[in-house]
C-alpha cells in the first residue's frame, strides 16, 4: 500500500491552459472585490465586542429561559439592554448592551456588567453565568487601531520580503492579489454576519500568511523556469509553472482545509466563525494563486521580466 500514492489531484502530464482564462479571472475577481467593498460600507461589518465596546453577558438558566421575566428584572434594575436573545439551547440567554455614552462611561460600563449579573441571578435563582465581558470605549478603539496596524505591518513585511527575494513585479502583483483576497474575505464577513473581533483579525492574517505562502511557491517556480527556459514566451512559461506546481498547490490547500474543517463544524462558538472564515480564505487564496497572481505578473512584466533575465 505504501509503495505508490493511491491518489493524485491531476495527472502529471496534464497541461491546463490557465492563461487563456486570465481576463475572465481578473474580471470576476475585480467584480467580487468591488462588491465586497460595497458590502463593507453597506451593510458593513458586524463589529464584535472587542471593537464596539459595551457588555455581553451569557447565562444559562436552570429551566427554559423566560425572556419576559428577565427583561422585566433588568428593567426593574434600571438596565436597558439592546438585545436579550437566545443562543444555542433554550436555556441559554445572551444579553448585550452597547457602550454607554457620556463622560463617566468607563466606570458605567463596569457597573452595568455587575448589575446585569445580579439582576438575572435574582430573577432566576440558579442561573449560571457562562461569560460576562465588558469592554470600555477607549479600550475598544485602541484594540481596533492595533488590529489594523498589525494587518498593515504584516502586508508591508510581505511586500518587502518578496521585493527583496524576487523582483518588483512579483512583489506588486503578490500584494495586489493579497488585497483582492482580503477584500473578498471582508465581503464574506459582511454577508455571513460573523462578528468581527480580534480573533477575526487573526483569521484574516492567517489567510494572508497562507495565501502568501502559496504565491511564493508558484513564483519560486516561475523564477526558476525563467532561468531555465530563456526563450519561452512568458505566457507559456507561466502556464507551465502553474501546471508543474498544481499538485502541490491543491495538496497543501487540501491539508489546511482538512485541518480547519473540524474546527468549523464543532469548534464551539469562538472557533466556528474563525475556522469558517479560514475555509473561505483557503479557497480564495488557492484560486487566486492560479487565476490572479500569475496573470497579473503577465500583465505587468511581459517585457521587463524577459528582458532582465536575458540580460542577466
Amino acid at each position: 500500500m505504501l509503495s505508490r500514492p493511491l491518489f493524485r489531484f491531476v495527472r502529471d502530464d496534464r497541461r491546463i491552459n490557465f492563461m487563456r482564462g486570465r481576463h475572465m479571472g481578473l474580471i470576476v475577481s475585480a467584480v467580487l472585490s468591488i462588491a465586497s467593498v460595497i458590502l463593507f460600507f453597506q451593510p458593513g461589518l458586524k463589529l464584535g465586542l472587542d471593537f464596539r465596546g459595551g457588555i455581553i453577558v451569557e447565562a444559562q438558566t436552570p429551566g427554559p429561559a423566560d425572556f419576559g421575566k428577565l427583561r422585566a428584572a433588568l428593567d426593574h434594575a434600571g438596565i436597558h439592554p439592546d438585545a436579550v436573545q437566545a443562543f444555542g439551547s433554550p436555556r441559554d440567554v445572551r444579553i448585550s448592551i452597547n457602550a454607554p455614552e457620556g463622560a463617566d462611561r468607563e466606570a458605567q460600563t463596569q457597573k452595568l456588567v455587575d448589575g446585569v449579573k445580579n439582576a438575572i441571578s435574582a430573577a432566576e435563582p440558579g442561573t449560571q453565568v457562562l461569560r460576562a465581558d465588558a469592554v470600555g470605549a477607549s479600550v475598544s478603539s485602541e484594540l481596533f487601531r492595533d488590529g489594523l496596524l498589525a494587518l498593515g505591518f504584516s502586508l508591508a513585511m510581505i511586500l518587502v520580503y518578496i521585493w527583496v527575494r524576487f523582483e518588483r513585479e512579483f512583489a506588486i502583483s503578490a500584494v495586489v492579489t493579497l488585497i483582492l483576497d482580503l477584500t473578498k474575505t471582508i465581503g464574506f464577513l459582511a454577508i455571513t454576519r460573523f462578528e468581527f473581533d480580534l480573533v477575526m483579525v487573526a483569521a484574516l492574517l492567517t489567510i494572508l500568511g497562507y495565501s502568501t505562502n502559496d504565491k511564493v511557491v508558484v513564483y519560486d517556480r516561475i523564477r526558476e523556469n525563467l532561468r531555465k527556459y530563456r526563450t519561452m514566451p512568458l505566457r507559456e512559461l507561466l502556464d507551465l509553472s502553474i501546471n508543474e506546481t498544481l499538485n502541490r498547490t491543491l495538496g497543501t490547500s487540501m491539508t489546511v482545509f482538512l485541518a480547519a474543517l473540524p474546527l468549523a463544524l464543532f469548534g464551539g462558538s469562538t472557533l466556528t466563525g474563525f475556522a469558517t472564515v479560514m475555509l473561505f480564505g483557503i479557497v480564495v487564496g488557492t484560486s487566486s494563486s492560479i487565476f490572479i497572481a500569475a496573470p497579473l505578473l503577465l500583465l505587468m512584466g511581459e517585457k521587463r521580466l524577459r528582458k532582465e533575465t536575458n540580460a542577466g
Binding site: F7, G209, V216, G251, P262
Partner: protein, 514 residues
C-alpha cells in the same frame, strides 16, 4: 548530501527526545519539588476565570505631583527669603506660576526654581512669561512616573488579591499605564473589582480652624459618617505609608465593627507630636478624599495605635483592614475591560477544541498516506514530532494556551505538511525526468529546501509583526504559529529527510514510492 553523519543523527534524535521530556510535565505529576517542572498554562477561555484590565489614572498622578510641587516651591521660596504674589496652580496645563515680589528677586527666584530636585529626569521646565515664573510638568516625565507607579501598583494589587485567597493570579504590566489581572477560577470578580478600585490612601489631618468653610490651605471634603461637608487642612500630618498593621475588630464600647491600626515608630512619633500639640481640637481620618470620622483629640496618643469606627459592617471592616495592610495605590486604578468565562463554558471549549484538533490531525494524517504513500507516512511521523516539539517549547516558556492558540497549532500542522508535499512533488518531478532514485532524492530535497525557506520566512515575518502589534488572543495565536514555523523547519528539513535517507540506505529500492 544524502549521507547523515552519526553526530547529526544523534543530534536530531536528541532534539526529539528533549521535546518529549519537555512535554512530560503537562501529563505527569512532579516526582520531586527540586526538578524544574514547567507546564503550559491554560488560558482563561479554557479553564474559566476573569480577566481585568486596569487603567492608572494619569490625571490624578499629575494632580498629586502638582500639589507636592506647589508645597516644594513655597517652601523653597521661604527658605531663600524670596517673596511672591499671585500664586496660580493650573491643573489643565499642569503648571504652577507666580510673580516675584520685585524685579530684583526675579533672577534669584528663577535660579531657586531651577535647582529644585526633580523626581524623575526632566520632570518639569522652568520658564519666564509676562513677568511671571512658570513651572510646567512634562508629559514624557509624567509617563515615566506612571510607569513607576504601575510597577508599585502591581505589587499592591498582588498583595490585595492574595489576601482574597484567589488561586494562581497573574498580574502584569501592559503598556505605560495599564495592568492586566488574570484570575483563574474566579467567576464573580465583583469583590476584587471593588478592592482594586479603591486607592486606600489613608491620611490623618487636622480640621481647618473653621470647619464649615474652605480657607486657603484647606479643602472641603465629604464627611461620610455625618453626611456633611467639612473643611480639612491640606497638610498631611500622618500618612498611611507609616502603617505596619491593621485588623478588623468589634468595638468594645459600641459593639459595632471597627478597624484597628498600628503605626511604625516614625508614624507614632509624628502622631504623638500632633496630638500633643492639638489636644481639644478635631482631626480627620481621611480615606481617598472622604472623611471616615473626625473625632476630638482627648489626650495625646503616644503608643502609635488607634481605632477607626465609621459605621462598618463585618465585610467593609475586614476589606478596609485588608486594603490598609496591602498599602495604598500611588494613583487610582479603574477597570476598563472585564472578561469573565464561567467554568462550564471553559470545559465545553476545551472539549470542543481538543476534539476538533484531533479530528483535523487525523484527517491530515490519512490524507498524507493516501496521496503520498510511504513518504506521506514519514511526513506524518514528522508531523507528530512537530506537535511534540511545539508543546515542549510552549511548556519551556510556560506559555499560555488559549483557544486561538490551539487553532494556531492546528494551522501550523496543516502548513507543516506543505513542506513535505513540496519535497515529495519535487522528488516525483525529478524521477519523471529520468533520474535514478538517489539523484532524484537529493535533487528533490535540495531544490525544495529553497522554496520551503522562502515560504516559511514570509509567514514567519508576518506572524512576528502580528505578535508585536497584536493584543490578547491575537498575540497568543501568533506566538504558537511563530514557534510552529521553527519546529516545522526542523522536522521537515532534518527529521523527515533523515527518515527517508535511513529508509533508502536500508531498503536500496530500485524505484521510489512517489
Amino acid at each position: 548530501m544524502m549521507y547523515y553523519s552519526r553526530l547529526r543523527l544523534l543530534g536530531v534524535a536528541g532534539i526529539c527526545l528533549i521535546g518529549v521530556l519537555l512535554c512530560l510535565p503537562n501529563f505527569l505529576r512532579s516526582p520531586t519539588p527540586s526538578l524544574p517542572w514547567r507546564q503550559i498554562h491554560l488560558g482563561l477561555d479554557l479553564r474559566g476565570g476573569s480577566y481585568l484590565l486596569l487603567q492608572l489614572d494619569l490625571k490624578s498622578l499629575e494632580h498629586d505631583r502638582l500639589q507636592s510641587l506647589q508645597d516644594q516651591v513655597r517652601q523653597t521660596l521661604l527658605d531663600h527669603s524670596l517673596g511672591y504674589r499671585d500664586f496660580v496652580r493650573d491643573d489643565a496645563s499642569a503648571s504652577l506660576s507666580f510673580a516675584p515680589r520685585s524685579d530684583a528677586e526675579r533672577a534669584a527666584a528663577l535660579k531657586a526654581m531651577q535647582s529644585l530636585p526633580p523626581v524623575v529626569p526632566n520632570e518639569f521646565t522652568t520658564s519666564e512669561k509676562d513677568g511671571r515664573i512658570v513651572l510646567t510638568l512634562q508629559h514624557e516625565a509624567m509617563l515615566a512616573r506612571a510607569r513607576e507607579a504601575v510597577a508599585q501598583s502591581i505589587e499592591i494589587v498582588r498583595r490585595r488579591i492574595d489576601a482574597t485567597g484567589a488561586i494562581d493570579p497573574s498580574i502584569a504590566r501592559e503598556g505605560d499605564d495599564r495592568i492586566v489581572v488574570e484570575l483563574p477560577g474566579v467567576s464573580d470578580p465583583e469583590r476584587i473589582k471593588s478592592l482594586l478600585g479603591t486607592t486606600a490612601r489613608l491620611t490623618f489631618r487636622l480640621l481647618a480652624p473653621n470647619p464649615s468653610v474652605a480657607s486657603p490651605g484647606s479643602t472641603m471634603l465629604e464627611d461620610e459618617s455625618m453626611h456633611t461637608q467639612v473643611a480639612v487642612q491640606d497638610h498631611v500630618d500622618v500618612d498611611g505609608t507609616d502603617l505596619t498593621n491593621a485588623g478588623a475588630v468589634i468595638d468594645q464600647q459600641s459593639g459595632g465593627w471597627a478597624v484597628t491600626f498600628q503605626l511604625n515608630s516614625a508614624g507614632a512619633t509624628a502622631f504623638a507630636n500632633v496630638t500633643r500639640a492639638n489636644v481639644g481640637k478635631r482631626f480627620a481620618i481621611v480615606l481617598d478624599n472622604k472623611v471616615i470620622e473626625a473625632p476630638n483629640i482627648i489626650s495625646p496618643i503616644t503608643a502609635g495605635n488607634g481605632q477607626i469606627t465609621g459605621g462598618f459592617n463585618a465585610r467593609s471592616a475586614s476589606d478596609l483592614a485588608l486594603l490598609l495592610r496591602a498599602g495604598a495605590l500611588p494613583a487610582p486604578l479603574s477597570v476598563v475591560e472585564q472578561r469573565t468565562i464561567g467554568p462550564s463554558l471553559g470545559a465545553a471549549s476545551i472539549r470542543a477544541g481538543i476534539i476538533s484538533l484531533l479530528t483535523g490531525l487525523l484527517l491530515v494524517i490519512v490524507f498524507m498516506v493516501l496521496f503520498y504513500g510511504r513518504f506521506g507516512l514519514y511526513a506524518d511521523i514528522a508531523l507528530f514530532a512537530n506537535l511534540i516539539l511545539m508543546v515542549g517549547i510552549l511548556s519551556l516558556f510556560q506559555a499560555t494556551l488559549t483557544l486561538p492558540g490551539m487553532a494556531g497549532m492546528l494551522l501550523t500542522l496543516g502548513m507543516a505538511v506543505d513542506a513535505n508535499i513540496l519535497i515529495n512533488e519535487r522528488i516525483r518531478e525529478e524521477v519523471k525526468r529520468g533520474r535514478g532514485p538517489l539523484q532524484a532524492l537529493q535533487a528533490g530535497f535540495d531544490r525544495a529546501t529553497g522554496t520551503i525557506i522562502d515560504s516559511n520566512a514570509t509567514a514567519f515575518l508576518a506572524h512576528v509583526m502580528l505578535f508585536v502589534f497584536g493584543t490578547g488572543p491575537v498575540r497568543n495565536f501568533a506566538l504558537t504559529i511563530t514557534i510552529g514555523i521553527v519546529t516545522t523547519l526542523f522536522t521537515t528539513l532534518l527529521l523527515s529527510r533523515l527518515l527517508v535517507v535511513r529508509w533508502y540506505a536500508l531498503a536500496r529500492p530500485k524505484e521510489l514510492p512517489v
